[in-house]
């Protein structure tokens, strides 16, 4: 049963989007596809509408910073199907400043998670209806979950541990 599902989740996506699926991996039972940024919306739409997959529930969107590697960021989409009871993970890799297509038109619930990823990593989602900070103040400088964000100190005024900082956060 579990193996069958895995097969389905791997092959269905791979056969439909041959060149756009860059990498596929299975780790501890989780199926992950790394897809091309340009194909993200098409893949998501397919996952949501295909009668065998029916990924109708967007669980979460997570950003990951692999600084100083390039491409720097990974945006991870966790999807679940309430009718078919299976999970899949879709990833896109982007560089700093490169926009990612927003999936709010497919799952309206992507609104806040995308804003969160923008707030924490500065990843821009193209086509998001209202992309602004969600947790931090609007005038906040920098993106705290980036790996090069300083752990201590408040701007340039408060730096009790004498930590070295880059010129601009």
């Amino acid at each position: 049963m579990a193996a069958e599902k895995e097969e389905l989740l791997i092959n269905k996506v791979k056969s439909t989007f041959r060149d756009d699926v860059l990498e596929t991996s299975v780790y501890r039972g989780d199926v992950t596809h790394v897809v091309d940024k340009k194909a993200l919306r098409a893949v998501c739409n397919f996952l949501k509408t295909d009668p065998e997959l029916k990924m109708n529930f967007l669980v979460d969107i997570a950003g990951v910073d692999y600084h100083p590697e390039t491409p720097r960021f990974e945006v991870v989409y966790h999807l679940y199907s309430i009718t078919r009871k299976h999970r899949i993970c879709i990833k896109v890799r982007v560089n700093d400043g490169e926009p990612v297509p927003s999936v709010t038109s497919i799952w309206p619930g992507a609104d806040w998670p995308e804003r969160e990823a923008y707030d924490m990593f500065g990843i821009v989602f193209e086509g998001h209806p209202d992309l602004k900070r969600i947790y931090l103040a609007e005038d906040w400088e920098g993106f705290p979950l980036r790996k090069d964000y300083p752990l201590k100190g408040y701007k340039d005024r408060y730096n009790p541990y004498g930590e070295e900082k880059p010129e601009k956060i």
């Binding site: 501890r28 109708n56 967007l58 669980v59 990951v64 947790y135």
Partner: protein
């Protein structure tokens, strides 16, 4: 428009509700656009309690992060502990002992009862029925007493650890649980009698904050609030973890997706949790409550004081932690508020490279606009309460 007309005509006003407001369950700030008393638009503004938990996690050893999870949804810390340790165990690829599984089920269900009781109490208080809050607090106290007996803490428990639990589930705790199970059904019946018999309670909840199943799924609603819209989805049943596949319980659902159904689902879930605890108490086997892996599990504290090897072991564990193999995993549980998931990216060291918390309150709050627009200002209070947001969790 003459000056007189200008004065008496109704204009849209923007009202800020919170963050200091008794019925916003913490620090929720709502920006409401009102036409008279009708809601035209509602914009939640969150982040007043943001502590950067995910950033903190990246700079801590795996076992050091457990206490931080207590402070997410502080109303039911056990569920948070469970979600986190389960994700780490998934990455490590270890299977915990049978006894530990049963202990975890009982603790998680106890904290579900505590969480739902408080949700119910504060909800009723917001709508003007103060009695229920005092009653619910009284009964929640019994659950907290059990936690105290179990691990010495009442709110910030840190009871579950990677590889098992910190202390054994003693016979004394078992007796306390049995006493709770005897007492609680009568008490829950009492709540129902007070609330269902209260005309105001029914009128302020029935037909208020309606959300359809399709809208709820699209917006990422989960947990009791989604089940109230008629979606029969519970991770405990659909992707069973621990020993939930061996226990008998029902998934209550609603039909209308209004506040009243959300109340009914919560009340029914308290009863189902009692059923689960009863079965788990009966089925709990003897045996170790931690996996036999010294690098992951610290020695019992009393032995650290008397035995040199254990002292060294304890020191190594506390100062070095343990390595987690390279990889990434997402693991989720059914917390009292909805799907609580933890996504960990490991780079093979003792600290998580990235830890993402999928917190139910955050996603659930998105639906507040769909639920409130077109309703009255007073309904917003009922709707917020029916979603049961906890801001330690929402703001991370």
């Amino acid at each position: 428009m003459s000056e007189r007309e200008n004065i008496i005509s109704t204009r849209e006003v923007t009202l800020h509700m919170g963050p200091q407001h008794p019925s916003t369950h913490g620090v929720l700030h709502l920006i409401l656009d009102l036409q008279g008393e009708k809601i035209v638009d509602i914009q939640p503004d969150i982040g007043y309690l943001h502590r950067g938990t995910e950033k903190i996690a990246e700079n801590l050893l795996y076992h050091q992060f457990v206490p931080y999870t207590d402070r997410l949804d502080y109303m039911c810390a056990m569920s948070n502990n469970l979600a986190y340790v389960q994700a780490v165990e998934k990455l490590l690829g270890i299977e915990i002992t049978e006894r530990a599984k049963y202990i975890r089920v009982i603790s998680a269900e106890l904290s579900r009862i505590a969480g739902h009781l408080l949700a119910l109490g504060s909800w009723a208080l917001d709508l003007g029925a103060m009695t229920i809050l005092l009653y619910a607090m009284r009964d929640r106290e019994i659950v907290l007493d059990i936690f105290e007996q179990l691990c010495g803490a009442r709110m910030t428990l840190s009871y579950m650890r990677v590889g098992g639990v910190r202390y054994d589930f003693t016979d004394g705790v078992k007796e306390s649980c049995e006493r709770l199970l005897e007492l609680l059904p009568g008490r829950v019946a009492e709540y129902e009698k007070i609330l269902i018999g209260n005309r105001i309670w029914i009128q302020r909840n029935r037909g208020v904050g309606v959300i359809s199943a399709e809208d709820a799924i699209a917006l990422g609603l989960s947990g009791p609030a989604l089940r109230a819209s008629g979606v029969k989805w519970d991770i405990r049943k659909d992707e069973p973890y621990l020993v939930y596949d061996r226990l008998e319980f029902d998934i209550p659902t609603g039909e209308n997706g209004d506040c009243f159904d959300r109340y009914n689902v919560r009340i029914e879930e308290i009863k189902q949790s009692m059923r689960i605890i009863k079965q788990a108490l009966k089925g709990m086997p003897d045996g170790p409550f931690n996996v036999d892996m010294p690098q992951i599990v610290p020695p019992p504290k009393p032995e650290v004081y008397t035995n040199m090897e254990n002292l060294i072991h304890h020191f190594k564990y506390v100062s070095h932690g343990f390595k987690v193999p390279r990889g990434e995993a997402y693991s989720s549980i059914e917390s009292p508020k909805g799907e609580l998931g933890v996504y960990i990216v490991s780079d093979g060291t003792e600290r998580p490279f990235r830890l993402k918390l999928r917190v139910p309150t955050f996603m659930n709050l998105q639906t507040i606009k769909t639920m409130s627009v077109g309703g009255y200002l007073a309904d917003v209070v009922a709707i917020v309460s029916s979603l049961d947001p906890v801001f330690g969790e929402c703001d991370k």
